[in-house]
Symmetry: C2
Subunit: 325 residues, 2 copies
């Protein structure tokens, strides 16, 4: 077992991305109050978080602005209303989905934007289109990363090919993503080794993004970090679609870099996460998410089940078996 | 990485212990309804669970019977009222605490009891007393196991010595226990290798018992199993003191042995666990348990904090720092 770093020292190359607004926005349709967003921004700065992701840069042709909160679109003026010129160490990121982003118009030159990192989310078959988007963002002056989604359903050979061509483009970080919360730590271990091998060869870095369907989001995140991933996504209290994500509270408690501070995040939970839950936002581990996780399928059926207040788990399990892809 | 078994095949030597009544009894003072206990017994049999632990064999000199539910004491007639002669594959276990069990009188000969496995819980300094208890149970005809508790606070040399003398006695299983939910998977990995080395030498087997303070109970359990542990403790929905235990639902979903069946456990959750929560039983991951976990301390302060309905996590963190041992 060759680990990078150990449990007492720290690796200064590890950086943390807060995705609460972006992944959490999938829970409440991006309906965060301005107070929530401003308080989260302040909390993240105090906590030493390295990147804060504000949301998506979604196409206004495809999605109507009146149907979503503003962080679905992350307009420059909305960002600046929160961060001003962002005169802090913490960097700002946004996500762009292949095929759902008008990136040529909506991603402006870096010199005119407070955004630092543009993250592209792609399915395996969209990688050529993703590379165009990455190149566009890179040429405009941004740091870039790419998430290859749903790889638990992708055959090994295709994944290898996809990783190779991505590693040859101007992307800074390639993310290992467990979209369905389907992976066990020993699979994350093997995959991280694979990603690291390709990354090292091409001078790229690896990120990790997990889901908590099997209560393994945090375990899988620290597993990937221990092998060499250096960018870790987390959300406060795991807020995110369905079972949610890796908990920021846990991740910061694991990292030994003195730049990180758990206290501002706990204070944020006490006020703002509690309030969000009282408003009816629903996420976090439950049996239906475990079932979609172990069956390696999209959590949408489980989200519907939970939203309807159902508790007939066995019947739901049979329904899932009826629709195995 | 040398794993025992892989993710598709299964190891028939792995067995599962349901500790819902014993660990869960610490949540509700063993105040389970008879219906709960009978339904759990039936669910475990249908689910293929290998052992069901009914509770403690606590000394009636030290603990008053009127202060607790009956599963604090597991009297033979109370067991038989549920299991009859237990004419099923599933075995029955009870736990005995060193110094708190009148084992000479309360553990009767195996031939007169439906109990199959007597589990002894000991702190490192009590091991000589534990060995007497184990020998007593072994001589009376029971299978035996031993839990060395709180090893995250024990120096390596003492642990090595403790393991060596335990491995020389007539115990069948030695448990790797994470009492405070303080261990990370990479520590569990190293410790399981240590336990396995000693166990193999003395022809013993290894069990694993985890807590969910850091949402790592399940991850740590499957980590230990992948290295060679063969007895795994879990509770339905993780019911157990504080942050609770490894979830039975997760564990059964991980094991590929066709003897296990998740459906009866999900049905039990739907009716009986939901009811238990409505009655006010409180357990499961929350920030205060994360904090006692990362600080490697007993969850009692966190249980008190949660019981008082407090949410001032940062203040609680400072209180813990003030009382670091």
């Amino acid at each position: 077992m060759q680990n990078k770093g150990n449990l007492i020292s720290f690796r200064p190359d590890i950086k943390v991305v807060d995705c609460t607004l972006r992944d959490g926005g999938l829970v409440n349709n991006f309906g965060f109050s301005d107070e929530f967003v401003k308080a989260l921004y302040r909390a993240n700065i105090k906590a030493g978080v390295d990147y804060m992701e504000f949301g998506y840069k979604a196409s206004k042709d495809i999605f109507k602005k009146e149907d979503y909160g503003k962080w679905k679109f992350c307009e420059e003026e909305d960002l600046r209303a929160v961060v001003g010129n962002n005169d802090f160490d913490m960097k700002i990121s946004v996500m762009t989905d292949v095929g759902r982003t008008d990136y040529k118009n909506d991603i402006i030159d870096k010199k005119d934007s407070v955004i630092d990192l543009v993250r592209t989310a792609t399915y395996i078959h969209q990688i050529p289109a993703a590379i165009e988007m990455i190149q566009d963002a890179h040429d405009k002056g941004y740091e870039t990363s790419v998430n290859i989604m749903a790889i638990s359903k992708v055959r090994e050979e295709e994944l290898d090919n996809g990783l190779e061509i991505l590693a040859e483009c101007d992307v800074d970080y390639i993310y290992l993503v467990d979209s369905f919360g389907a992976f066990y730590p020993e699979q994350i271990r093997r995959l991280t080794h694979k990603y690291m091998e390709i990354a090292t060869k091409h001078n790229k870095k690896i990120g990790v993004h997990t889901h908590n369907n099997q209560q393994l989001a945090y375990a899988n995140t620290i597993e990937a970090l221990s092998i060499g991933a250096s960018l870790a996504d987390a959300t406060v209290s795991g807020m995110g679609r369905g079972a949610g994500n890796c908990y920021m509270e846990s991740l910061l408690s694991f990292l030994r870099n003195p730049r990180y501070n758990l206290v501002p995040i706990m204070d944020f939970v006490q006020t703002y996460i509690k309030e969000e839950i009282e408003k009816g936002s629903l996420w976090g581990y439950d049996i239906p998410y475990l079932l979609t996780g172990i069956m390696n399928s999209h959590p949408s059926a489980a989200i519907k089940f939970m939203g309807e207040g159902r508790t007939d788990y066995s019947r739901f399990y049979q329904e899932l078996l009826d629709h195995m892809e």
